[in-house]
């Protein structure tokens, strides 16, 4: 009995200990990445290449999901608004929910599972096959050469993807609301323009997506760099990237929303 309790306590202690150790390493890792990111800007080709892999190649999934999310919002919103006889407000509903929340959050979640996991797997495999060690042997700093370009590529791609997601979603809402159902086109756009504020809504959405970009990219490169150099370790790290960055996005979203939209 006592043994069972002791082993449970030991397990909890081990996890807490490990968590704090990893948190500390992650913070140090972020500082190192920022410190050595000069290379990522001086040799901008490296970053461009990563923007291609994590940003451009995520375009299809982002655009298609954005379109469908907008179309569903259009259908659902119309169904609800029709009961109150205010289906002209459909544009407001679609635009505000996309620009404020769904754009950054859903694009962030998709980005984490599409690009974040790939970054983790790549860096983890580089570590497992001792490429990172080989770089160090050749006096190439792997953080400057491998990690920083991927980090900055993620930070740049995320707001662009979120903006495209929102724009595509609004187009989807327009397609369903105006073209398919027949909401008046003029009031769809004019009410949207009257209620969506550039600074309050759009800029805050962009800020959100930049924060998510930093969080997802950091988690992805860190998990890859910290992965156990085995096949199991890499697969575990990839899973952790998706899980932790999804949770981080949702948690950060709550905090940012609480700061931004307090209804003052």
């Amino acid at each position: 009995m006592l043994d069972r309790v002791a082993s449970v306590l030991r397990l909890i202690g081990k996890h807490v200990n490990q968590g704090i150790w990893r948190l500390g390493f992650a913070s140090r890792f972020l500082l190192m990445t920022l410190l050595y990111s000069g290379t990522a800007f001086r040799r901008f080709g490296l970053t461009i290449r990563q923007i291609y892999f994590s940003g451009v190649q995520s375009l299809i999934i982002i655009l298609v999901s954005g379109l469908f999310v907008g179309m569903v919002l259009g259908l659902q919103g119309f169904d609800t608004l029709e009961r109150y006889g205010s289906e002209e407000a459909l544009g407001v509903l679609v635009a505000l929910s996309l620009v404020r929340e769904l754009g950054p959050v859903v694009a962030g979640l998709l980005f984490a599972s599409r690009a974040g996991s790939a970054i983790t797997a790549e860096i983890g495999l580089m570590k497992a096959t001792e490429q990172l060690t080989a770089m160090e042997m050749m006096a190439v700093n792997p953080i400057a050469r491998v990690v920083a370009p991927r980090f900055w590529a993620g930070v740049t791609s995320m707001p662009i993807l979120a903006a495209m997601f929102s724009a595509m979603g609004i187009f989807g809402g327009y397609l369903v609301g105006v073209v398919l159902i027949g909401v008046d086109e003029g009031s769809f756009w004019s009410q949207m323009q009257a209620s969506v504020d550039f600074r309050q809504d759009i800029l805050n959405g962009v800020i959100k997506s930049i924060v998510f970009g930093v969080a997802v990219s950091l988690i992805a490169v860190f998990e890859g760099y910290d992965a156990d150099p085995t096949a199991e370790g890499v697969s575990g790290a990839t899973t952790r990237t998706v899980v932790i960055s999804s949770l981080a996005i949702l948690g950060l979203d709550f905090i940012l929303t609480a700061f931004m939209f307090r209804g003052f």
Partner: protein, 165 residues
Amino acid sequence: MNRTVLDLWVGFFVAAGIGALLFLALKVGNLSSANMADAYQLNAKFDNIGGLKVRAPVKSAGVVVGRVSGIRFDQQDYMAVVSMDIDSRYQFPRDTIASILTSGLLGEQYIGFSAGGETAMLKSGDTFKKTQSAVVLENLIGQFLFSKAAEGPQNGPQNGQDKKQ
């Protein structure tokens, strides 16, 4: 993948992102109408501003001529002081009345100007002489009930008889 082709794709990507942001700013948001080229400030004192908010539109004859830039409370005479940025293309006579109106039954509140007849125009920093406060629905209902109750004993039964006939 050739480097130049790769650059091309990333260029497309960034350009499309900027395009999406522009679309959001101009077509979805109200950036295009928000920045007035030149604005001058007018102040108005109200007994009650109801649910008026900063950045609410200022309209004259239904056309947006400016925006509410600030709302504060005057400790001296216990009134709300609303400052407005008015587009300098529009000038209003000195005896213009500023009133707080509601668009629709449940819509947002805005400030409406009904222009007066004086020849002298309001200048930057001037305060309106005549204002009309927001109509608070609760007060209105209260007044209605009160007046109904006051006239009730005399008129009530007669009305009832009228209906029967």
